[in-house]
Symmetry: C2
Subunit: 111 residues, 2 copies
């Protein structure tokens, strides 16, 4: 039963990682720093999931990236675009509506 | 951009369909009636997604099914099991925690 629950929990959480990324990338961050920021905020995600996700969000125009070569080790920084900001606002709206529906469903159930 | 947003919205919603099903199946329902109930509650899901999901939840022991053959057309009714009730309670708890994290992230962003 633990595996079943874990799978359903993972499915609930999955879509929120994108929203969390969009929330913390007003300020440019490189992958590893973003990973730490997300973890501190309670969003568990591993590097093997996050890095492809960042590339996907960039391809979708929601993030822009830039190499910072000033330090000894070059790092790719990601930052939110104007389109990313718009999508974040729309997802924030969607989240509120979704939360309302979920809570209403939960209240209606005989817990 | 509409397609991109739609895909992210779908990803946010995906996991909530399971929770919604678990919420409304204290009372036994057949697939089509469940579909209508979910739609009324704002959970958009099509039959091609819902029916396999119900079979999966039954396989996981969260739902039990029974054929009702009293009417002219036999219908398979699904109802929550004790394990389903437990998972629902755990997911309700997870949802509240997730909502808290998402709202905190959104408040921290410069909207």
């Amino acid at each position: 039963m633990d595996d079943v629950l874990a799978a359903h929990v993972a499915e609930l959480r999955r879509g929120t990682v994108v929203l969390a990324c969009l929330c913390v990338l007003d300020e440019a961050r490189y992958g590893y720093a973003l990973l730490s920021t997300l973890e501190s905020a309670g969003f568990e995600v591993d590097a093997n999931t996050l890095y492809p996700l960042l590339r996907r969000l960039e391809k979708q125009g929601l993030l822009a990236s830039e190499w910072n070569t000033e330090e000894s080790r070059p790092r790719k920084f990601y930052v939110l675009t104007a389109a990313g900001r718009e999508v974040r606002a729309a997802l924030a709206h969607e989240w509120a509506a979704l939360d309302h529906r979920v809570r209403t469903a939960l209240e209606g159930s005989s817990r």
